[in-house]
Amino acid sequence: MTADTATSAPVATALSWRVRLEESLLPPIAALLIALVVGDILILSFGQSPAAVYRILIEGTWGNAYGIGQVLYKATTLTFTGLAVALGIRAGVFNIGAESQLAAGGFAAAAVGLLFPAALPALVAAPLLIVAAAVGGGVVGAVPGALKARFGASEVIVTIMLNFIVLAFLNWIVSSRLHVPETLHTPEINTGEIPRLAAFADVFRGSAANLTILLAIAVTVAVWWYLFRTRAGYELRAVGLQPEAAEYGGVSVPRVWLKAMTISGALAGLGGVNYVLGYKHYYEEGFAAGSGFVGIAVALVGRNHPLGVVVAALLFATLSQGGLAVNALVPKQMVEVLQAVVIIAVATVVPEVRRAVRSVRRA
């Protein structure tokens, strides 16, 4: 059930760098153009000028420090969920469960943070809470991995169903045991907060951006290293490209599926750090609702490459923050439509564009 876009990417390695560049740049550009056209139609249907709306969208995001901070904050969460989906696809498993793995990671970090004594130094507590977030997401990811490995159950369906189960469970535990009265969130963690960017540069005051960005960068590099520079990563990609061949080559395919889903869940869970440790210091229901699904878009547009994921995360974060900026002119929901259009466009246009590029080259 791997995306066609995922499996065919490595074929390009045999071609020249120019072809590779064209093939990796043209599809996202084509998708963006389609999204722009749809955006124009939506903006015009609301009786506004597309040029004015797009100008405000850019000014409200990259035009000032607060906007940049907000984009960076959102991109941090999306980098984690994007990496989660991308790593899964590389192994031939489609993780639709980043949504609940992210929530479970955030919840685990908050719950452990509540158990720690306030006297524990943040420098000691924060790494432990980061591990808790990874474990929380990893456990949720391991379930569909194990069910696929053991029974061949479709991870797509199991992760979708688990989204509902896990979110209902977290809703129960927070609303019945852990919430602050009159709210949907837990009390604040006792220790382990990650400082905001505003603590170092005053221009970022008010924005949610925090040092979790550094964690995101480190994890991105680590995922790249794991996928392309280690034996385990090679096996993982081999299973994603051609499971029968990998099996023949001595790789245990079910074990790789389980491992990939667990790592994928852990990556998504780490996204919870951004909100719980870096921003609000508590777990709240729906703290990053939708980030799991947008993570699929991020992985697709980023062509399942860690670097591409970061670029795509910045793009989708800009869209998301830009929606808030233009809300006075057009409903911010326009952005939700555009995100979906980008996904559909990339999924449909990419094979078409690549085929066209190839045929031009052959002629």
Partner: protein, 299 residues
């Protein structure tokens, strides 16, 4: 709290499931994953409210809801059949698209970010059903969407097992290469099956909007996924799928009545359909075998 009240309530909860799940069976038996039932339903619900509001008639709402579901499903079909895009990716995206579009046009048409104004429905079962214990069932049974919902299952079974189109649909979903060899127009059959699934799920959404006399933001609330759960738990067979739908609806009905009694937390009842689906998929109860060509776009 008589048996009839529980029955009427179960029926009302089951109707959208039955409609969407029948659509899901058609789509999946033709080889196309029905991940976007939720999106079809939501689009159908919004269009139904729009049609009923501007047309001042629930019948126009029904027509609009059915058409919207079909149109959105055709978008899925074009992307996955014509362009061979990945079904899971497009399926998820269609759901996001439906949420975004309905929210955007809710602002555009009704200048609201939460709900539409009150629209005409087929009956005022909402008000009457709560107070008059015995009449809930009769009111529900005179609702045309309920009747269509109850007919959807036997009709799906009939079409799937007793008509040439049904035979072709199953062939296309099991072994498209063989179907091609026999001269079956694989793409056309798939387009038809997906269009039908969109129409049925759109009707499911129509029922929700007309029953509550308004569209509210994200009003389908995962019902499309419960329908998908029923399709899988019912092993892709219309009769079993219908039983699954009624089972899930009955669990919800019981939950509503148990809540005051301090029974099991509602969240655990909510999990039932999803847990059962995972258990079924893992093959822990009986053998679960999806259509062989499910998710494969190539012909």
């Amino acid at each position: 709290m008589t048996f009839l009240v529980l029955l009427a309530q179960t029926l009302r909860i089951a109707v959208p499931y039955l409609l969407a799940a029948s659509g899901g069976v058609m789509s999946e038996r033709a080889g196309l994953i029905a991940l976007s039932l939720e999106g079809y339903m939501l689009s159908g619900a919004f269009a139904a409210a729009l049609g009923s509001y501007y047309g001042a008639s629930p019948w126009l709402g029904l027509l609009a809801g059915l058409s919207a579901g079909t149109l959105v499903a055709l978008l899925y079909a074009v992307a996955t059949i014509r362009f061979r895009a990945d079904q899971v990716v497009v399926g998820i995206a269609i759901n996001l698209l439906a949420i975004g579009l309905t929210r955007f046009f809710l602002r555009l048409a009704f200048d609201s970010s939460s709900n539409s104004p009150r629209v005409a429905g087929f009956s005022d079962v909402t008000e009457a059903g709560e107070s008059i214990a015995s009449s809930g069932l009769m009111e529900a049974l005179t609702n045309p969407v309920v009747i269509i919902g109850l007919l959807a299952v036997p009709l799906t079974a009939l079409v799937l097992y007793r008509t040439p189109f049904g035979l072709r649909t199953r062939a296309v979903g099991e072994h498209p290469q063989a179907a091609v060899t026999l001269g079956v127009p694989v793409a056309r059959v798939r387009y038809m099956a997906v269009a039908i699934s969109g129409a049925l799920a759109g009707l499911g959404g129509t029922y929700l909007a007309l029953d509550q006399h308004q569209f509210t933001d994200s009003m389908t609330a995962g019902r499309g996924f419960i329908a998908l759960a029923a399709v899988i738990f019912g092993r892709w067979d219309p009769t079993r799928v219908a039983i699954a739908c009624v089972l899930f609806a009955a669990a919800e009905t019981l939950m509503i009545h148990l809540q005051g009694a301090g029974g099991i937390p509602s969240q655990f009842v909510e999990m039932i359909p999803y847990l059962l689906t995972i258990v079924a998929l893992a093959g822990l109860v009986g053998r679960s075998r999806p259509p062989a060509a499910l998710g494969k776009a190539e012909e």
